[in-house]
């Protein structure tokens, strides 16, 4: 181990909202985040691993030995795994996405496209598809700002609307958008408690809170065993998506080859390239292991960053383009 970097960050935000009808709302919003990054080396080769966690609580729980040790072990394990990694294969193949943070792909490639402003302006790939089948059967996606202590949770949004559990896609059918007051009014819909802003100097707009896919019935081991040739994407770095076309690119920070249903060598430089709305229909197996991320995400939109949560169970997707330099 050549370097260990630990960061602790916390904010304490108090907001008060006064509406023209005389109503007023107040909220206190604590937020803590811890991150541990390690650099491990062997000879001339160096690789990194990192783990973070946090939520809307005070420090106490997050600085318990059990908490930081688990994160430190996880970061070191990821770095050591990556020291053994081989170049990722390129081409179209089946991909198994891990549970938890890999839900960042769902957030980017699907969630943003279900925000009210993009749909009102018809710049989302999902515009005009309400009530239509937009994902494989069995896929249910929700945005839930009411979950206790979660990074993306709020009692009220930044317009004073109580947060909700909003079902966006139910069994593959588009049933809801995330709305602030302005877009809800213009679309003759109800605000869903998704009007959020970075701070007082920014205007509110529809933003996600904690967005995740519900669990299915498959054992994750069964999902991996079902793949003849593909990759298992256990963890991601960031990603980028174009809301209008739904096209995305994501970089794996931990991935493994799957051959004949068995996990193989760890992979370096694996990238997933695809189209969110299209790939929602390529989900063929949904795991029973729904997990939310550990509380590390900050979503950027129109220059504003807000804390969010993501999550999903283990998923199998067929025919996804993988970018890599190996065979």
């Amino acid at each position: 181990m050549r370097q260990v970097t630990v960061s602790l960050g916390a904010t304490w935000q108090v907001v008060e909202i006064l509406r023209p009808d005389g109503e007023s709302y107040r909220d206190i919003r604590p937020l803590v985040r811890v991150n541990i990054s390690v650099v491990a080396g062997q000879g001339d080769r160096q690789e990194t691993g990192s783990k973070g966690y946090g939520g809307r609580e005070r420090y106490a729980r997050f600085i318990e030995t059990k908490c930081w040790r688990e994160a430190a072990d996880g970061a070191l394990r990821e770095a050591l795994v990556n020291l053994e990694s081989v170049p990722a294969p390129a081409g179209e193949m089946d991909v198994v996405l891990g549970s938890g943070w890999p839900g960042v792909m769902l957030h980017e490639a699907v969630g943003h496209g279900l925000e009210g402003d993009f749909n009102r302006k018809k710049t989302s790939a999902f515009a005009g598809l309400m009530g239509r089948q937009v994902a494989a059967k069995g896929v249910t996606v929700v945005d839930d700002g009411t979950m206790a202590s979660r990074r993306g949770s709020l009692s009220i949004d930044d317009e004073g609307t109580p947060t909700n559990r909003t079902v966006l896609i139910e069994d593959g059918i588009l049933v809801g958008y995330m709305q602030d007051r302005q877009n809800a009014r213009l679309m003759q819909m109800k605000p869903t408690g998704n009007g959020r802003r970075q701070g007082y100097a920014h205007v509110p707009m529809p933003r996600m809170t904690n967005t995740y896919m519900l669990a299915g019935g498959r054992d994750p081991a069964e999902i991996i065993a079902s793949v003849k040739r593909g990759i298992y994407a256990a963890n991601f770095g960031g990603g980028q998506v174009d809301i209008t076309s739904g096209k995305y690119v994501f970089q794996c920070t931990e991935a493994y080859k799957i051959e004949n249903g068995k996990l193989g060598a760890p992979l370096k430089g694996a990238m997933l390239i695809g189209n969110g709305p299209t790939d929602l229909n390529r989900i063929t197996m949904i795991g029973n292991d729904l997990a939310l991320d550990t509380g590390i995400g900050t979503c950027g939109k129109n220059g504003q960053g807000v804390p969010v949560g993501v999550g999903q169970p283990t998923l199998r997707m067929e025919g996804i383009t993988v970018g890599g330099t190996g065979r």
Partner: protein, 103 residues
């Protein structure tokens, strides 16, 4: 989880609640929607490199944003605030994307 605050930011700033309400009502008269958003925040960050404290920051900020919305996309927005020492902000994993379309 977040909690409804018991102390009003208006009271902390010694502002007359009824007078502020009247001004908000007057400022947003004729608008379809809008609000006065007040915020006070404290943030701190500590970074350790190989066990040594490398950076420590502490920051406070407070201010308000007054927004009036009319019709589809007409919007008036005024803001005023103050901030303490500059901070690195909160370390986090940023999800890029979704920010490529202007309102």
């Amino acid at each position: 989880m977040t909690d409804p605050a018991t102390t009003s930011l208006l009271d902390r700033a010694n502002l007359d609640r009824d007078a502020v309400r009247r001004e908000v009502g007057r400022g947003l008269n004729g608008a379809d929607d809008g609000e006065l958003f007040l915020e006070y925040s404290q943030s701190e960050a500590l970074t350790f490199d190989n066990g040594r404290l490398k950076q420590a920051t502490y920051d406070t900020s407070q201010g308000f944003g007054l927004r009036a919305v009319k019709d589809r996309d007409r919007r008036l927005f005024a803001r005023q605030g103050s901030a303490g020492a500059a901070s690195d902000g909160e370390p986090g994993r940023h999800l890029a994307g979704g920010g490529n379309l202007a309102a």
